[in-house]
């Protein structure tokens, strides 16, 4: 089945090939392999970009294919990051605490150890108690399960409530935005138990690999991100192909008609919403150990809107469009804001791109929506398939 599906789906093969070439080039050129063409920070940036591409294709499936403009998928991305971050922080701190307590004449009691870990982690926010949500933080498998489970369950419950009440269109967008806002406001509180505004930091130090250099770790995460993107791409391509894909696209185009045909629209929507939320969570879990820190600002509603912007610029309803959009916009934006772009001297005024980049992005986004509704991916289509 999958074999046949890959054969029939040319774009998937092309994409996988491009991704493989790109990954190989970066891997062999990285500092970890000795070539040193790409600095560790560049490898990290590229690895993070791959994760963003993954969450972008999830967004594309839920919006471009199913027509649900979710402004909450970056929240799921963040939850995945928090879930894995909790284990990373706990395990790292546990190692530090155990080694510092091992010097004592009397071995520490379990409660002393957990108190010491607690005051290490939460001392920053003026507390020493472990909140309930950290119950599983000591175990990597459980916490990895949380990466999938928490976004999945949240999406399931939220989606079930929303779709059941037939909340659609812009109402649903606003509702998902409200969910994101509630989550980020909640995380901003110190009482949330996730260190408030500071969030979880030092995530790039992987417990158990203290002696491994960041060059190697960044390469490992880059490869893992590439693999996750490849798998995610194949999974979503499979979902949107075939009969189910047709139903999903039908819902986008006219929900009522699909319902009249006897399909359980709510079920399909819920499936797509939950599945993409889970993938977003996984992408987040890969992203934040590379970024090194996660905090509530990452989850702010604006981040989810940017996600929609990427997909729209890249081109909705085609998976590679989302990948192009996410990679292009996020890299270009860091090029502009990083001071990389040369200033534009208009004679009477010098345009400094650190100041003007957002203006350019906003305007070009309006232009894309107005004049190129198919985005960059649309141009791509035009080049590949000759216009009929």
């Amino acid at each position: 089945m999958t074999q046949g599906f890959l054969v029939t789906n040319r774009s998937v093969r092309w994409f996988l090939m491009c991704l493989a070439i790109f990954t190989a080039v970066v891997a062999f050129g990285s500092e970890a392999s000795g070539a040193g063409l790409f600095s560790t920070s560049l490898v990290k940036t590229l690895g993070k970009t791959l994760c963003l591409c993954l969450v972008a294709i999830a967004m594309d499936v839920v919006w471009g294919y199913c027509g649900i403009l979710s402004l909450g998928h970056f929240a799921f991305f963040g939850i995945g990051g928090y879930a894995v971050g909790m284990w990373l922080m706990y395990a790292r701190t546990e190692g530090i605490v155990l080694s510092s307590l091992s010097g004592q004449t009397i071995p520490p009691t379990p409660s002393e150890v957990s108190d010491a870990i607690g005051s290490q982690i939460f001392g920053v926010v003026g507390s020493a108690q472990f909140p309930l949500i950290w119950s599983f933080a000591h175990s990597l498998p459980l916490q990895l399960l949380m990466v999938v489970l928490v976004p999945g369950l949240l999406a399931l419950v939220f989606g079930w409530l929303a779709f059941r009440s037939r909340v659609t269109g812009v109402y649903l967008s606003i509702l998902t935005q409200a969910m994101t806002l509630a989550l980020s406001l909640y995380l901003f509180q110190n009482d949330s138990g996730l260190r408030g505004n500071n969030g979880l930091s030092g995530l790039q130090n992987i417990p158990g690999y203290e002696q491994t250099s960041q060059a190697t770790i960044s390469l490992m995460f880059f490869l893992a991100s590439a693999l996750a993107l490849a798998l995610g791409y194949v999974l979503f391509a499979w979902v949107v192909a075939g009969k189910m894909g047709s139903v999903i696209k039908g819902i986008r185009d006219n929900e009522a008609r699909v319902r009249f045909l006897g399909y359980r629209v709510e079920g399909f929507k819920l499936f797509v919403f939950t599945l993409t939320a889970v993938v977003a969570g996984i992408a987040g879990a890969l992203y934040y150990p590379q970024a090194g820190i996660i905090n509530p600002a990452e989850i702010a509603p604006i981040a989810s809107i940017y996600l929609a912007v990427w997909v729209a610029i890249g081109g909705r309803g085609r998976l590679y469009g989302a990948v192009i959009g996410a990679a292009f916009v996020s890299l270009v934006s860091s090029w502009f804001t990083g001071g990389g772009a040369p200033n534009l001297n208009l004679g009477f005024y010098t345009v400094q791109w650190t100041d003007w980049w957002l203006v350019l992005l906003g305007v070009s986004f309006v232009a894309v929506t107005l004049f190129f509704p198919k985005g960059i991916g649309g141009v791509f289509d035009y080049l590949v398939r000759k216009p009929s």
């Binding site: 071995p107 409200a178 909640y186 100041d355 986004f365």
Partner: protein, 646 residues
């Protein structure tokens, strides 16, 4: 001592003005010059005593000037002057003769008594100012008196009441006299009478003095409690067991509890042959074994015995815990309790009223911010994500106007219509250039307007900078409408409320009574049908969009007046505005009103329940709204008919 001196000084100042003429103020100041130049609340009293004791008439103006940072000291010889600095020049006035000299400011130091010292000076000045012919001086005396009530001031205050010409100030003096009587009068009957008179007073001062009488301390006694008992406390309900035991320990009624660290340290100190208390150290990671080891050591007498939880409970059970009034006279505390209970019932009602006012004010702000959005959303089904930026634009218009029109009243009068005009134009331009092309793609409108939003925000940053800009309200909007110490609301919020009402009326009028309103309602209900009736939907769309944006601009001026003008201010209101519209129900002015009221009251209600965490209140509010929409997806005032089936 100080009081005695002041009393003496008053006496001397009143009866023997001639005897002090030989002294100058400067000669009295010089011995305490250090204290005057660098005063501290705790030690300035001595210097003040000396000044007051002199009985010189110059003392009062000197103290007033000193308090207002009007006194300078010459560094060379430490002499004091009244000084007025202008540029590098300093006009010095001799404190005794009044002779003026102009000198360079260098070599002179301005005296800056801090707030605590100023309050002590104010208290000292009270006696001179209470009967001063100048009303402002009398007012300042009363303020000082209220800030630092003092036993000695009761008599002069009472004496000054009869001659007080100003009725408002007279009432205030009587109130203060009552409050002072409660604390300082000698005769318990006087005190009780004064206490009773406070039972209808909801002011903070009155409650403060009653609360002070009712101050209690917790005591633990083996038998019945002694003193003026407020009430007997039950451990567990009124007092945690840990706090109760701490009380016993501080009262030497029980041995201190053994802390886990103390056990560890004791064990570590008593390791013999790798064993502590007979147990190998390697096994001491187990809490139970640790206690056992400690018990062994305690039995041998090397460490104090372990105080177990049971021991603690027994000790607590054997004692009575009671709250004891600091005031010994039961009659007075009873009267105070009765008066406070009566006052607090009134205060609770007043607090409720105050909360209602706050909620109304917040609701009116949300209403103003959201009504423009509601109009465009209702009529055109278009989500305008840049609505918040129109609010910002309006606020910056106000700021710019104030740069050119220095008079705040005029500038606001100019700014309001100008903000409307600018945002109206911007709205129409946006509708023509962007929205018009996206009518059948509502989700894309949402994103396109978001693009405009980020561009506008960044533009504002580039033009005005990221720093908050001031939008100053006219003087007549300063201050607050004060009903009582508890119920008050600032005039600026009242003005916003009035503005919101005005707009509600205006919009309802436009929609229900004008040709434009009729056409707008027709397009809202059925665009196609309206078009076939000869209404130009394009024109209506353009006008409604302009109107909605224009109102956002005015809301921006209003919001800027009470908060801050920043490039991100719009973003702070946009999500709230959406929720207001969605909760209220789309396409209906009354719906927006209902939504704003619900959200305003809800937010204030949650804040009241959890006052220390505003963020939590916002989180719960958003959660509530999410749930609310689940159960009433069309909002409070649901639209009926064809238009509802979007």
């Amino acid at each position: 001592m100080l009081r005695l001196l002041i009393a003496l000084a008053v006496f001397a100042g009143l009866s023997l003005p001639a005897t002090a003429q030989s002294q100058t103020l400067q000669s009295i100041l010089q011995p305490v010059a250090d204290e005057i130049a660098d005063p501290s609340r705790a030690s300035v009293g001595a210097a003040l005593d000396a000044l007051v004791a002199s009985g010189l008439p110059q003392v009062t103006p000197f103290l007033e000037a000193w308090s207002d940072k009007g006194v300078w000291q010459r560094d060379a010889d430490g002499a004091f002057f009244y000084g007025q600095a202008a540029g590098g020049e300093l006009t010095l006035t001799d404190i005794d003769t009044g002779a003026e000299t102009v000198v360079p400011a260098t070599g002179h130091t301005e005296l800056r008594p801090n707030g605590g010292v100023r309050r002590v000076i104010g208290t000292t000045l009270v006696q001179f100012q209470l009967s001063d012919p100048d009303l402002t001086r009398r007012l300042s005396a009363i303020d000082s008196l209220a800030r630092r009530p003092d036993a000695d001031q009761l008599a002069p205050l009472l004496a000054s009441i009869d001659e007080e010409p100003d009725p408002a100030l007279k009432a205030r003096k009587i109130q203060l006299a009552n409050i002072l009587t409660v604390t300082f009068a000698d005769d318990p009957a006087d005190r009780i009478a004064a206490i009773d008179s406070l039972s209808t007073d909801t002011s903070i001062e009155a409650r403060a003095v009653l609360n002070q009488i009712l101050t209690t301390g917790i005591t633990a006694t083996p038998g019945a409690p002694v003193g003026n008992v407020a009430r007997i406390l039950t451990v567990g309900d009124d007092l945690t067991p840990a706090a109760a035991y701490d009380l016993l320990v501080t009262g030497d009624l029980a041995p201190p509890a053994t802390a886990p660290n103390a056990i560890r340290d004791a064990l570590a100190a008593n390791i013999v042959d790798g064993r502590a208390g007979g147990i190998p150290t390697a096994q001491l990671g187990d809490p139970a074994l640790r206690e056992a080891a400690y018990a062994t050591l305690a039995a041998a007498g090397t460490v104090p015995p372990l105080v177990t939880a049971q021991d603690q409970a027994d000790a607590i059970a054997a004692h009575t815990f009671a709250a004891i009034y600091a005031e010994g006279d039961a009659a007075i505390t009873d009267a105070a309790r009765a008066a406070l209970t009566s006052a607090e019932t009134r205060v609770a009602a007043a607090q409720f009223a105050d909360l209602t006012l706050d909620a109304l004010s917040l609701a009116s702000i949300y209403f103003l911010a959201a009504i423009g959005l509601a109009i465009t959303f209702g009529v055109m089904g278009v989500i305008n994500m840049s609505h918040g930026e129109f609010i910002m634009m309006g606020a910056y218009t106000g700021f710019v106007v104030q740069q050119f029109v220095p008079d705040y009243t005029v500038s606001i009068i100019v700014a309001l219509p100008l903000a409307f005009a600018i945002t109206f134009a911007a709205g129409v331009a946006m509708e023509r250039l962007v929205i018009r092309h996206l009518y059948h793609r509502p989700l894309e409108t949402l994103l396109a307007t978001f693009g405009i939003s980020i561009a506008l925000q960044q533009l504002a940053k580039n033009i005005f900078g990221t720093q908050a800009r001031p939008l100053t309200s006219p003087g007549w909007l300063d201050g607050a409408l004060i009903f009582s110490d508890v119920i008050q609301i600032s005039y600026i919020r009242v003005a916003i409320f009035v503005l919101a009402l005005l707009f509600l009326g205006l919009i309802v009028f436009v929609l229900k009574r004008t040709r434009l309103g009729l056409e707008v309602r027709a397009v809202t209900q059925n665009r196609g049908m309206a078009a076939s009736m000869g209404i130009d939907p394009d024109r209506i769309n353009m006008l409604t969009f302009g109107l909605g944006s224009g109102i956002a601009g005015i809301a921006g001026v209003a919001i800027g007046l009470y908060a801050q003008v920043t490039s991100e201010m719009g973003a702070a209101y946009i999500v709230q505005s959406f929720m207001t519209v969605v909760v209220g129900g789309v396409g209906n002015v009354w719906g927006t009103l209902a939504g704003a009221t619900l959200i305003g009251f809800l937010q204030k209600g949650i804040e009241f329940l959890n006052p220390s965490n505003t963020l939590a209140a916002q989180t719960y509010m958003v959660l509530f709204i999410i749930l609310f929409i689940q159960f009433r997806p069309k909002g409070i005032v649901a639209q009926k008919g064809r238009a509802a089936a979007d």
